[in-house]
Symmetry: C3
Subunit: 470 residues, 3 copies
């Protein structure tokens, strides 16, 4: 008899029976609350055009580097999974899906397994466990599902009860898709852009001059000098804000916010425009620019999220063949206390400023982030991100942060995903883990159950609204 | 019906029923042992003069930066809490207390909540949960309590059963309060000073020249040259030791103990005296001075406690308005293995030396501190300090340190607090967490219950006496 | 009544009764599988010559720095334990053993206690708890045991069911003992050498010139120039491989693999040969040589294990008196992402390459190692090593690594020990902890019990064979 997939109602709750009882009751209070997703990577075109999904592989495998990287580590060429290629033929797509199903055991113990099982059960209504034997049947089930009207993105926004969804967008984007959605009276969900200006803040990067030229075009500001760059940024932030944006997102190698003297900033900017800036000076100017962004955030009120300390495109061969975002980005250590000091010294108590720092370097939770967020009203500790958006890591995060910063200084859950179908599974995992954490505090008589329930609702409903100014 | 506060007898013990049974029995063996507090910040004047406490806010809120910083993070001006001001008027004091009560939920999940609840129940005999509704009634209850004779510091030393209490004092202090206490036959508790010379070891700091001048005056040694500085330090250590001191305490940005050549030390000292030393040379001279302190400790037997790696006064605006110790100190990463190597190479096996290294950077527990303390007889791992003096962090500490260093290489609990009323609650928390940790080892058949009980008593009674040479 | 030692059958399994039930069933499936020990330090002479063990102290205390270092920390001179001396007299040996027994409580909470108890019970059949009272009787029991034929190394290989054992050997070693074992038809177990070339890769070390001269002699390659060094290394690797070696082992201060230009490598090599290379250039050349080793590994298929970031001989006094490996090696922080990038850029997807990175710096598990091993097919995360080869640390390792890399990207257990008698205890501990970890995932409905059992068997049987190419 082949195994059948079934989701246990108590999955992810603590094993101790007494604690689980409490966790069940806490979780029940938040399980069905609407989803607020203030940071993620769903393409707005999907929703604007309500594009049907094509085939199981392009839906679930190819674009999801959480999935493809472990297959790659187990010896599968990314090309066989469709990465960096155009549309796969039906046999190729089916073959890629089979590879995934055959190697299903590599996901044991990972959140990818749990998310995928949740999608199989709750979205596709399947009880098949992926394997060489089930690959074709499962492929057919999912392929059939993609043809239904109820499987289209807009319908799923309702089914998933996603009340708020932020996408991630280039500052030069015209946000046409967002306008389409905003102007459509039949679309009742809220979808907003996020201002993601990284490329314009890396003056030593190869594409920077062209990027900044394009910025000039779009903003109508002359980006030939630093003042023009600032004006262009302010212009585009205002444009995004007018289109509903609530936040800007930033990912650089470090968190540095050391400002330069005005003349030095001008000089380095000119060097960069001339294509002559060194890598070290590029970093200095970038830190100055990030500090400028903090100042703008304090003024225009857009929440500023920081996702630092990643070595992008670690494997050059993969980058050359498949481009960026192919799963070869790898975290490095981060430093927060000194890096953010200049910005916090100037704006840390500005009532208009909200900073959220995410990290994969868990060492900074108890050492730096919680102590900082426990003092500065502007600073919030981001929930676990990317590699550590995972059950045990979520508990480690709460245990490391809560004892000095409490619950009120965190960010609310963000899913940070382009895997649209997994959004409910990801939010559900966070709710379960937070409920289990709170239940342990109750079981240890550190909170009353009433306090735990109130806190759980706060984390799901109130906190993301407050932190992202919804 | 409004909620009533009640302390559960099993609070903080592990949730698993079998483990909890063991934990209860282990805890029962240590729950009522006298308190030994070998490092803290209670002002000796309180005890010498047996000053009555004034009002709830100046007693519980204003001086406790664990409390004020989270209120500040939630948007409250420190000034409204009385920080950096003289005595508050009764309406101001009541208002500050109300702010605290209204924002009580920000402490959920923190040890501050648990300490405060313990004080409410066990010191004030109150069953009120702080809130906007209860603020006034609670204020009145505490205000009434402060007027009782049994609420004065000396009476509380008996009620709390504090057998030994060390304060923290400037090397130039005349220790008059300690003398008063030592000479008073009616005072049966032991209160001793601690030698805290940080300011005299930071030659690049603005106040250093004046500080060292004052040191000359007090010690009668000419601190115009390095040899005089050494003699002055030795003089004051001897003075402190004669007044009962058992330890010296040190907090610098790093743990460096690299000595300089004698001539180089002289030269840098002269530069510092002339007000010309650079920040980098100031650090080099400071590390040399710390190495000198290790040498003195090996000779005079005063235990040397190290609390490194804090970015003091992180927010300049707060420092300018409210001064130091206003909650804006933030930890940074620390390195131990290389930093202490020069001192340990010279004195690490000296029988007279006892070093205790505290840290907020938990990464060094298993990587550096436990391996070092598991080899060097002079080195002990300090229990969790400040931000991580908290239930889950205590368990992480034990789990990270014990497997390579056992229990015998740690420091015994220190409360490090100026929040006098919370001292019993803090020691009780540590006893509960250690009992729970030991109970888990019993439940996993790694210790017998007899070994666990013996270890628990050792940690509370024997270890602090041994480590601090009582 | 004196306490009696007894090993609980459920030792080290999780305390929660439901989880323990599952853990028992999972563990039962792997408890009796043969031992594969692909990295350790058992002297091959013991097996080749089937030397009987001499006395309890030289068997269990003197050579085991896990044991001696905690005694040293508690104030015992290493000399009294026999370290750095020739054979102890019977009274000296008995005295050393008594010191150990008297101080038995210092091991509470450590794996050393658990390993030792397992050896007492399962190897010696003793039920004595070490103490001043039992020291002599226990000494006599063990001394009697050493005289039995069944106590000799070869018999124990069978009793312990060690199917595969790798030793650690100098590249210049003639591997005569291994040849003896391989050519002996009566010896049915597999014992192979491991190529450990560290000393030949540290060009700034005092002994390097002599070492490389000896390498020239043994390999017949002229190591006067860099090309000859490369040829000599390739020659000795081939020799080791011909004698059954499956891996090379490397331990340097950092993980750097930055290659030099060919001419620069030549130049630095010449400097080193002339005894003139600086420490910094020695590090640069060493990193180049490590990169060369990665290239060789990709070509000859020997698995490359890396044990970086240890400050060797931290206490010079101990080194002078007792030599290396006397327990005074102390870990430092390590960096992986950037250090391995050059090697992974060139060889990270080579099908022939297997790298295994071990660490005592637990911070890199979730931040760097798991993300890297979850992408590169050549990279595996080594199980906890040395100070962190311990129950709680094993659980932390699995929790930190599994959520992004799953189980398939780890190394299988290695015991890394010269304490021959403890090998079964160490493997048993790892099996119990992994079973407990898997059981928790089952209890939290993250794995089915069938998946957990399959994974447990995979970790014990299949993974070490795959990772070490057996």
């Amino acid at each position: 008899m082949r195994p059948r997939l079934s989701l246990h109602p108590d999955r992810l709750l603590p094993a101790d029976p007494g604690t689980r009882e409490v966790a069940r009751r806490v979780y029940a209070e938040v399980a069905d609350l609407p989803i607020i997703s203030p940071h993620g990577h769903v393409p707005p075109a999907w929703l604007a055009e309500d594009t049907p999904f094509r085939d199981p592989t392009s839906l679930l495998i190819t674009p999801d580097h959480y999935i493809t990287r472990l297959l790659h580590a187990s010896g599968v060429d990314l090309a066989r999974l469709g990465v960096g290629r155009g549309e796969l033929s039906e046999p190729e797509s089916r073959e890629a899906f089979r590879i995934f199903c055959e190697r299903w055991p590599v996901y044991r113990g990972t959140p990818m397994k749990l998310w995928f099982e949740t999608v199989l059960d709750q979205v596709f209504g399947s009880d098949l466990v992926p394997s060489a034997q089930t690959a074709d049947e499962l492929y057919d089930q999912i392929a059939a599902w993609t043809t239904l009207d109820s499987s289209r993105p807009r319908a799923l926004m309702d089914t998933f009860d996603i009340a708020f969804l932020a996408t991630t967008d280039d500052p030069c984007d015209d946000l046409a898709h967002h306008r389409t959605l905003a102007e459509d009276p039949t679309f009742t969900r809220t979808v907003v852009p996020t201002f993601r200006p990284d490329r314009y803040l890396e003056p030593a990067a190869a594409s920077w001059i062209a990027d900044v030229d394009r910025l000039a075009e779009v903003s109508g500001q002359d980006t030939g000098g630093y003042a023009g760059w600032v004006a262009a940024m302010e212009d585009r932030r205002a444009y995004f804000k007018a289109h509903g944006a609530v936040s800007t997102d930033h990912s650089h190698r470090d968190l540095g916010t050391e400002p330069l003297e005005a003349a030095e900033a001008e000089r380095l900017y000119a060097e960069a425009r001339a294509g002559r800036i060194s890598a070290a000076d590029g970093d200095r100017l970038r830190r100055h620019m990030v500090a400028e962004m903090v100042r703008m955030a304090a003024e225009d009120g857009l929440t500023m999220t920081l996702h630092p300390a990643v070595h992008r495109n670690h494997h050059p061969g993969t980058f050359e063949t498949y481009g960026a975002d192919a799963g070869a980005d790898v975290p490095i250590a981060v430093e927060v206390t000194r890096a953010l000091q200049p910005a916090l010294a100037r704006h840390g108590t500005d009532p208009g400023l909200t900073l959220v720092v995410f990290t994969i370097d868990e060492t900074v939770y108890s050492r730096e982030l919680a102590p900082l967020a426990g003092f500065y009203p502007s600073l919030h500790v981001g929930v676990p991100w990317w590699f550590i958006d995972a059950p045990d890591a979520i508990l480690r995060f709460r245990a490391a942060v809560t004892e000095s910063a409490g619950f009120s200084r965190t960010s609310g859950f963000i899913d940070d995903t382009r895997a649209f179908l997994s959004i409910p599974a990801r939010h559900d995992m966070a709710r379960r883990m937070d409920s289990g954490f709170l239940a342990r505090l109750v079981a240890e008589h550190r909170l009353t159950e009433e306090e735990a329930v109130e806190t759980a609702r706060y984390l799901v409903q109130t906190q993301p609204r407050e932190v992202f100014g919804l």
